[in-house]
């Protein structure tokens, strides 16, 4: 699910493809991907589940990370990015 991306500015960037998954699976995949990663790493979750829009920012708040923002994807999904602290 998770893969390393080339990212600008030196910060590591990981993408989690949660397309087609229903809540709470996108958040579980996000949490699994975050394990062991360095602070400053950005993780983008791509999801089609409407709850992810609410739950990714809430996950960041509850686990002490930072929600960066959301963007529409080319497909039917939404890309939600967090920065690990």
């Amino acid at each position: 699910m998770a893969g390393d991306d080339a990212a600008g500015g030196g910060a590591a960037h990981v993408t989690v493809d949660a397309t087609g998954m229903l809540c709470p699976l996108p958040i579980i995949e996000l949490a699994k991907a975050a394990r062991g990663l360095e602070p400053g790493t950005e993780i983008t979750v791509v999801a089609t589940d409407l709850a992810a829009r609410v739950d990714v920012p809430a996950w960041a708040r509850m686990t002490g990370h930072e929600f960066v923002g959301e963007k529409k994807t080319d497909g039917a999904g939404i890309a939600l990015t967090v920065r690990l602290r």
């Binding site: 229903l22 809540c23 709470p24 699976l25 958040i27 579980i28 949490a31 699994k32 394990r35 589940d49 409407l50 709850a51 829009r53 609410v54 739950d55 920012p57 809430a58 996950w59 708040r61 509850m62 686990t63």
Partner: protein, 372 residues
Amino acid sequence: MFLDASGSAPMTNRTLEAFQAGLADGWADPARLHTESRRARQLLDASREAIAEALGARPEHTHLAHSPHAGIERVTAGIFAARRGRDRIVASAVERDAMMHAAHHVAGGTLTVVPVDARGHVDLDSLATELAVPDVALAAVQHANHEIGTVQRLDRVAEVAAAAKVPLVVDATASIGHGPAPQHWDALVANPADWGGPAGLGIVALRPQTRWLPAWPEGDDWAPGGVLVPAVLAAAVALQERREVLDETSLRLHRMIARVRDAAASWPGVDVVGDPDERLPHVLTFSCLYVDGEALLTRLDREGVAVGSGSACTTSTLEPSRVLAAVGALSHGNVRLGLHPGVTDADIDRLLDLLPRVIADLRDEAGAPEIA
């Protein structure tokens, strides 16, 4: 044990007896002229008067509707129709779906949603800004939220609405029968099923000066075809029964919810939602990280515990609760409690023993990571 009483509380024996007595004595059509009808009419009028008195409303301005939803639809359409030339409705982000749907239907694309803070209180500055534009037909701000329990500061909301000369429609369907009735409104909607009366009945109270026009074919009749007289009688008796012990019950349930709030806040990965103090005594919602809301409800139901949920997987639309989204709360793994006066401390003990185990089991089964 039944812990999902918000919006549909079990009826007490006294209410059931009133319902049965109403069926025996008030079965006739109250609109006709013979003795049987007059008896039904007397029961209906006395019941409506008792309900109006509890709401702080005039009986002649207290209307019965076929459901709280129907009441919300009619009052929204009726006030909108009397505000000719003003075509926008302003509503708080935590209003019920029924209110949002009614507002959207009546005002079309000109519905403006005012944000709330993280505890669910409507943003008064945003509200004032929206109401300052002279195209607003009405403002809808609820008394208390049916999911998160937060009670709005209606005195200040009403000041803002009055300053803009905009009628304030207050949805009190979650609060009447659980504490003092709100005083600041131009129109009020109540739900008898929420205080232990029968379902299928809504109450709309208007101030004498609140202008409305019938936006429906039946003129002054808010419940075309009539209402079930025994249901109105049972609703009045249930509200009376609640009010006789209102302070005690409210204090007892407030403490029970405080216990659950504190316990849930101490469990790892649990997001407790709503205002801890300015809230309904009997309502609480919290969300559990990495837990499937539907599985949680099903597991608890198997253990004989009925709770509600606002998680997407438990709703017919598969969309998460708009209320949870509006306050920025976690939406999955959501548990919604609505206590009724029959809930005991032993019930809460059992719930607090059961929940952490069920949550841990479901996280294990989902392969969720440890929570730091």
